[in-house]
Symmetry: C2
Amino acid sequence: MEIKEFYDYNKEIAKFKVAYALVEWDMRTKMPPKAAMDRAEVAGKLARTIFDMGTSPKMATFVEYFNRPKINEKLSEVDRRNVYLVTKEYRRVSSIPPDEFEKFTIACSKGENVWQEAKVESNFAKFKPYLEEIVGYLKKFVEYYGYEENKYDALLEDYEPSMTTKDLKKIIDELKAELVPFIKDLTSKGKAPDTSILKGNFDKASQERLSHEVLSAMTYDFNGGRIDETAHPFTIGMGVGDVRVTTNYHVDDMTSALFSTMHEGGHALYEQGVSEAYKLMPIYNGASMGIHESQSRTWENLVGRSRSFWKFFFPKLQNIFPQFKGVPLEKFYRAINLTKPSLIRIESDEVTYNLHIMIRFEMEEALINDKIKVADLPEVWNEKVKQYLGIDVPDNAHGVLQDVHWSGGQIGYFPSYMLGNLYASQFFFTAKKEIPNLEEEIENGNLKVLREWQREKIHKFGALYDPKDLLIKVTGEPLSHKFFMNYVKEKFSEIYF
Amino acid sequence: MEIKEFYDYNKEIAKFKVAYALVEWDMRTKMPPKAAMDRAEVAGKLARTIFDMGTSPKMATFVEYFNRPKINEKLSEVDRRNVYLVTKEYRRVSSIPPDEFEKFTIACSKGENVWQEAKVESNFAKFKPYLEEIVGYLKKFVEYYGYEENKYDALLEDYEPSMTTKDLKKIIDELKAELVPFIKDLTSKGKAPDTSILKGNFDKASQERLSHEVLSAMTYDFNGGRIDETAHPFTIGMGVGDVRVTTNYHVDDMTSALFSTMHEGGHALYEQGVSEAYKLMPIYNGASMGIHESQSRTWENLVGRSRSFWKFFFPKLQNIFPQFKGVPLEKFYRAINLTKPSLIRIESDEVTYNLHIMIRFEMEEALINDKIKVADLPEVWNEKVKQYLGIDVPDNAHGVLQDVHWSGGQIGYFPSYMLGNLYASQFFFTAKKEIPNLEEEIENGNLKVLREWQREKIHKFGALYDPKDLLIKVTGEPLSHKFFMNYVKEKFSEIYF
């Protein structure tokens, strides 16, 4: 058997994945409302086709053959990695009985719908039976997948390959020990910046121009992508030459769309930078959700909320929104760097964000290991928010019901956000070492210098390496919380003290 | 076997067709340029899946079973029609060896690309070998499909079911005999309207508003559709609740987008009006290309270029483009009704349009029946344009290379345009009889009254009837050129004399 046959078959699957991605993008951006019900069936048909092809007897033959030691050892690094990724996916997916998988998919689909209503009504009881069903399936899947130490590891693997619960707990303990007292210091002794200058009326057309301009500055390739409006911003790649960004405009707050555009733009630069030689292969993808998130966080926070960037970009903002013409740069810089414990994860700042993740991780881990029940979630949530963030949760809509993830069966996803923050600082520390005048380049608007570094060190490899290995390859050391802590301490001490 | 099994299987095919339609729409509206090459492969994969499912052994079983006389006679009218349409498609498609079909698809794909270049360069020689290959395949397909009297009938069937070359020739002869002298009269003795008031600078955003407003007036349902910009306007339905319109804005001519929006809106009203009970069934479709075109022509010409419509809509236009505020309604009405023999079909007016179709029909019929060769096309074209339109063709770009259809293998399509014009007048004649105050309703902007009539008489049936039968059912008589001739004679005599 030739490896070409393996690739040809996987490329056929990849084509259906492109069609699926387009349906997904369209559903969240352009699709007229009346099409929703039937379009879900089209998406389901494509998903089922992908599932069937990924677990077919033909796929089984490829997996068996290319994992034979004598065959496998002769493969190139790229071929071996592709075989590895396909094998892993094959084993996970085919370990689940197809009927159970389909029921789980339907439960998630219903779960998301009910969650939306439950969130609006702040009614956890309404969502509870659906979440119980979803968690029930995930607990079964954990047994099918298998795990070594902790059941939660089996779910983590989907989002952050080779990351374990044990590793996560260790890094969280280290991070928490420094972060919690630092936040207490900032909020009790520091002087919070004045954010009143950010208020105003920002027409959508001008915000669109702003988003376009910032993506161009980031060297996002508009010939291989586009930007559209959506309710919950996301980035989606659909094959070669098409990585689409979305954002969400609020007329009373231009920072929301601006930073979400930079965030999504960071994801998009990653996908636009994967080597074209890998197209339609399993490694034509990011290394993990965490590594992906590190790229978005770099652009949103380490660049987008830095003084250097605004030295370059503030005149452009002033051009589009003349109300900023009288505002000193320094005042603006401080205003976009307010930090404050708050109830909603997606609205939280870069200092307090990780606390939101710790809360969710601890609850998920307890849930999957039967230490708590679905019924306990609201109470546990509220306790943890008090403990970590020091605030009272007024209702479930602003508490346990705020995120979509659980309703879609995505337990194990949240840690990626925290890992993304940590990876981002660690990568950026190395970038600054290797590009000594990086800040100056950013001040001059030469953002390409950072993009090129990311492309050469991270993007072009796609999913060739596990995130752990990639981190060591790029930064020379394993994951550490110190890069993030040093970054926020330095930056926010200067702003607050 | 239950009819439900037949429907379930066809619904699975219909889902892939929705995905295919979305890919198609995206390619022509939103897709970034770098994605073009790979996206074509995705479209190809979906097309092949649809082909394979449509010719599968399972489909063969359905076709055989539900056409057994004892089974078939017990089916409801709707079920029988669905079986009939599926059977027809099955027999046509499976009569072609799959490899030949795939080669033909590739030839058309290449043909379209080469045609675009050849058109720009006005270079027929470049396009000739590709067209020869395409025509070669079509001649083979004609033999596979089979025909009774004329080979061309086998191709017509794809676009206008049960229409024959003989019928077409008859109607063309009748139409030509009255139309050609009438055009001669108009252009030699009549007074052409002054169109200078249509010149100007029309910003795109305002034109978008205009398109939106005219579609709303037409009762197009924006909750089940949308309008976007494209190079060559089209309408595309993708399942229930999603019928999308496209248009093309020219800053120096607002009539182009306006009438193309009304044209496409007419197609869209048809698709939005098919009974929802037929969703995902083969009859969830138009009756034929000609009937479809009759609906677009009705809205573009019979309504959109009528005095009644502009009595209602002119103030709205003046609001959006204040330059028309000083212009008398009558002057505007006449300006949008200039008729003049011209070189380009898609720019021609409603009086001369059919002559362009006659030219193409005669050439296609001769080509398929080996009376002329591909190499003869430019010369024959130029002769016929001189003969029918009385003008000289300066180059092939403005002659034989102007239309995309042949390059995509669509021989047999052009007559639908002419039939659409004739059907439109015949339907409209009946509508006016059955809604005595129709013109008054239009003057008052109550366009819904016409849309409702169309929906009840035509739209809701989808493809339940053959076009011939539908025409008789609605108008009480078979196709006649007299409705069209009476319409243009009355309208243009008043304008020109």
